[in-house]
Structure formats: C-alpha cells, structure tokens
Subunit: 92 residues, 2 copies
DNA sequence: CATACCCGTGATACTAATACCGGTATAAGA
DNA sequence: TCTTATACCGGTATTAGTATCACGGGTATG
C-alpha cells in the first residue's frame, strides 16, 4: 500500500465540506457556480455530494472565491468534524 | 483528453505555493513540519519544490495550520501569480 | 574516517481527482 | 404530452497526488 486509501473519517469530512459548499451555493445553479469557479459541473457535483472527498487546494480556492467563503473557515469547520469523529450527523 | 493536464501556468502557481510554504517553514526541518501536519516528508518536499503543483485542500490546510499561515492569504497570493502570468520570477 | 542528519532526485505503486458521456428522475411550462 | 432545465448516477479515460524505497551530496559531530 503506497498511497493510503481515504479513511471513513476523511470521507465524512469530505461530505461535510460538500455540505458547506452546497449551503453556500444556495439558489444558484451548479453550472453557474462551476463556470465562475472555472471547474466542470460534474466535479462540483462530486465535491458537493462527497464523492470527491479531498479536492485540490486550488479547486476549493476557486469555489470559495465564487461563493464568497473564507477557506480558513471551511478548514476549521471540517477539522472540527475530524476531531469530534462522530461519523453520522456531520451537522451542526 | 478527459482530465486536463496541468498548464505551465498552473505548475508555476504550484511552484510559488511551494515557495511560500518553504519561506514560512523557516529554520524548522521538513521532517518536523511534515510530522506536525500529518503528512510524509517526501510529500512536503514535492509540494515545496513544486513537483506536486496542485496538492489536496486538506493537505494544504494541515500545512497552513502547522506553519501558522492563513489559507486565504496563500490562495490570494497564488492567484496573483496566475493573473500576472509572468512565468519566470515567481518571486516578490 | 564514521555516523548522523537534512535536503534533493529518481523510480515505483496505488489511489483519487477531474472531465466527458449516456442514462435517469423530477419539476416547471407551453 | 412534450420539452426544457436541473441534478443525480454509473461508467470510462487520463492525469496527478501521496507514500515508500533507494541513492547521492552536503554539513556537522564523534
């Protein structure tokens, strides 16, 4: 095993990141936000649904910019998920 | 071509990101910072030298935390590289 | 000289991100 | 009903990140 597979906790953290991004997107369409961020709508959908739990730094940066979200805020809240290590709620 | 290869500009941006991280590391050793961030020293080396130009979001988040750097600052300065699109200096 | 770090590079292994395609489902509107 | 728009899902293709191993150079210390 050379590259460690993502742990369930990392996947949970990715789902939570996607949830935050989706909430920030609000009423705007995926295609719109993806176009502004310069990524494909498919990729945005995968990130929002947590199927791409560890997206690239600049991908998140572009999304955060398009959504008006501070990245440190995102990272902090996702880190909280990792610390609590609940696994089910991922909310609050 | 399904996944777009990294453009020279994206690689340049990655080199600049690595430069910023290296500057922030200062006198500390790679092994120390990598251990604190929870990644391997080899990976940190690749990121700092720009051989991994688009690291994962949480990887950068862990490094930023270990180095006391704000991620928004990092993203902003790297975005400036992309905008100016110089390609050689990558400094200042 | 030997030992031990620290950094750099290359090769290798394996997983994951990104993108495109087709299909499906749902809701709104003519 | 038919069309359109949006989003979800599966598969597929390709590139890239992450980790380990091995080797080399540099520096410092015994």
């Amino acid at each position: 095993m050379v590259r460690t597979p993502l742990t369930p906790l990392e996947r949970e953290r990715g789902r939570y990141l996607g949830l935050l991004l989706r909430q920030a997107r609000g009423e705007r369409s995926m295609a719109d936000v993806a176009a502004v961020a310069g990524i494909s709508a498919e990729t945005l959908r995968k990130i929002e649904t947590g199927r791409a739990p560890t997206p690239a730094f600049f991908t998140v940066a572009a999304l955060a910019g398009a959504l008006g979200l501070p990245m440190d805020e995102l990272a902090r809240r996702c880190a909280a998920v990792t610390l609590t290590s609940e696994g089910e709620g991922a909310a609050a």
